[in-house]
Amino acid sequence: MTIHLLHIYDRNGNSLFAKEWSRKKSSNLTKVEEQKLLFGMIHSIKSFVTKMSPKDGKEGFISYTTSRYKIHFYESPTGLKFILLTDIFVGNIRETMKKLYSSVYVEFVVRNPLCPLNEPIRSSLFETKLETFMTGLSFFEDSN
C-alpha cells in the first residue's frame, strides 16, 4: 500500500505542513494554488456533507475514494485539518489520523515553544517524528 501525501491546515485554511512521499501526477498548479484548491475542496465537502446528512452526526466527512486514490480526513476539535492521500486499499484509519494529531502534532508543534501556531511548521524534529510515525504505519510502503 502507498501513502501519497499529507497536508495539514489550520482552521483558517493556511497550510501548515505538506509532504509528498509518492506522487506520479501533478495537478499542473503551483504549490500555493494546489493547497488552496485542496483546502477549498475539503471545505466544500464538509458543507456538502452537513447539508446532505439525513441524520445528526458528529464527525461528518471521513474519507472519499476514487478509482485510484483515497483521501482521509481528520479535523481536531480545534479545527486543525489533516488530509492524507493514500492508495485505495487503505481502510478506515480514523484512529491513525487522531494519533497523528495527538502524538505528533500536539507533542512536537504545540509543545515546542519555538513553533508558532498557525504558521508553517519549520521544526525538523517534527519532520523527523512525522517520518518515523508514517513509515511505521502498517500500510506505509516506500514504493516509487
Binding site: 446528512s53 441524520k55 445528526d56 452526526g57 471521513i62 472519499y64 483521501i71 492521500l85
Partner: protein
C-alpha cells in the same frame, strides 16, 4: 438497512432526477419559558441552533414554527422576524418547533452541481494518473456512492454506511435510465426525467436492495 436518496446528474452538472426514499424527518415542538437557553443565529436564510442542546434539539437544527406559525426563511408567516420574536420576553411562554433542515428542491439542484464540481476537482487533485473522481464518500451518518457513465452521467446513491449491494443498485439504475429514459421517445437528453414508470422501477430497485442487498 436504508437507502436515503438517489440523484442523477447530467454531464453539465444539472440535476435530472432526484428521489428521497427515506422521508425521515426529525421535528420537536416544545414550550419554553424566558429566556431561551439555546443560541440561535440566522444562517443562509434559516434560523438555526448554533450552540446548546436539549430534549433532542441539537446544533444545526432550524426553527420550523413559532407558536404554531410556520417560518418562512428568517420571518414567520405573519411577517415578524423569527429572532426578534424569540428574543422578546413578552412572547413567553413560547412554543417553538425545531427540526433538521430539509433540502428544498432548489438546494438539491445546488447540491448536485456542487457534487459535480467536487468530482472534477477530485480528478484534478489525483496524485496518480488515470483516476476517476469521487466514487465513494464516507461520513459518520451516510455513504455516498457515485457511478459516472462513459457519457458523463452521474448516478448517485446516498445510503446508510452499512448498506450493501450499492454497486448492483447503481448498475440497475443505469439500466433503468437507458430503458425508461433514453429509450423513451418523449424524453429529451439532459432534461429532468418525469415518468411514473421510471419512478416505480427505481423504487423497486431500492426496496430490493434494502431487503436482499441486491437490486437485481
Amino acid at each position: 438497512m436504508t437507502v436515503f436518496s438517489i440523484y442523477i446528474i447530467n454531464k453539465a452538472g444539472g440535476l435530472i432526477y432526484q428521489y428521497d426514499h427515506q422521508k425521515s424527518s426529525v421535528e420537536m415542538e416544545k414550550t419554553f419559558s424566558y429566556p431561551l437557553d439555546l443560541k440561535l443565529e440566522a444562517y443562509s436564510d434559516q434560523v438555526s441552533v448554533v450552540f446548546g442542546q436539549r430534549d433532542g434539539i441539537q446544533v444545526g437544527h432550524v426553527v420550523l414554527a413559532v407558536n404554531g406559525k410556520q417560518t418562512n426563511g428568517r420571518k414567520l408567516e405573519d411577517g415578524n422576524d423569527v429572532i426578534e420574536t424569540i428574543a422578546n420576553e413578552k412572547n413567553y411562554p413560547i412554543s417553538i418547533k425545531f427540526g433538521r433542515p430539509k433540502l428544498t428542491s432548489n438546494q438539491k439542484i445546488m447540491m448536485a452541481s456542487m457534487f459535480h464540481s467536487l468530482y472534477a476537482i477530485s480528478v484534478q487533485l489525483s496524485p496518480v494518473h488515470g483516476s476517476s473522481g469521487i466514487q465513494k464518500l464516507e461520513t459518520d451518518t451516510f455513504t455516498l456512492h457515485c457511478n459516472q457513465t462513459a457519457t458523463g452521467v452521474k448516478f448517485v446513491v446516498i445510503a446508510e454506511p452499512r448498506q450493501v449491494g450499492i454497486d448492483s443498485l447503481l448498475h440497475r439504475l443505469y439500466l433503468i435510465y437507458s430503458d425508461f429514459a433514453l429509450k423513451n421517445p418523449f424524453y429529451s437528453l439532459e432534461m429532468p426525467i418525469r415518468t411514473e414508470q421510471f419512478d416505480s422501477h427505481v423504487l423497486s430497485a431500492i426496496e430490493s436492495t434494502e431487503k436482499t442487498g441486491s437490486a437485481a
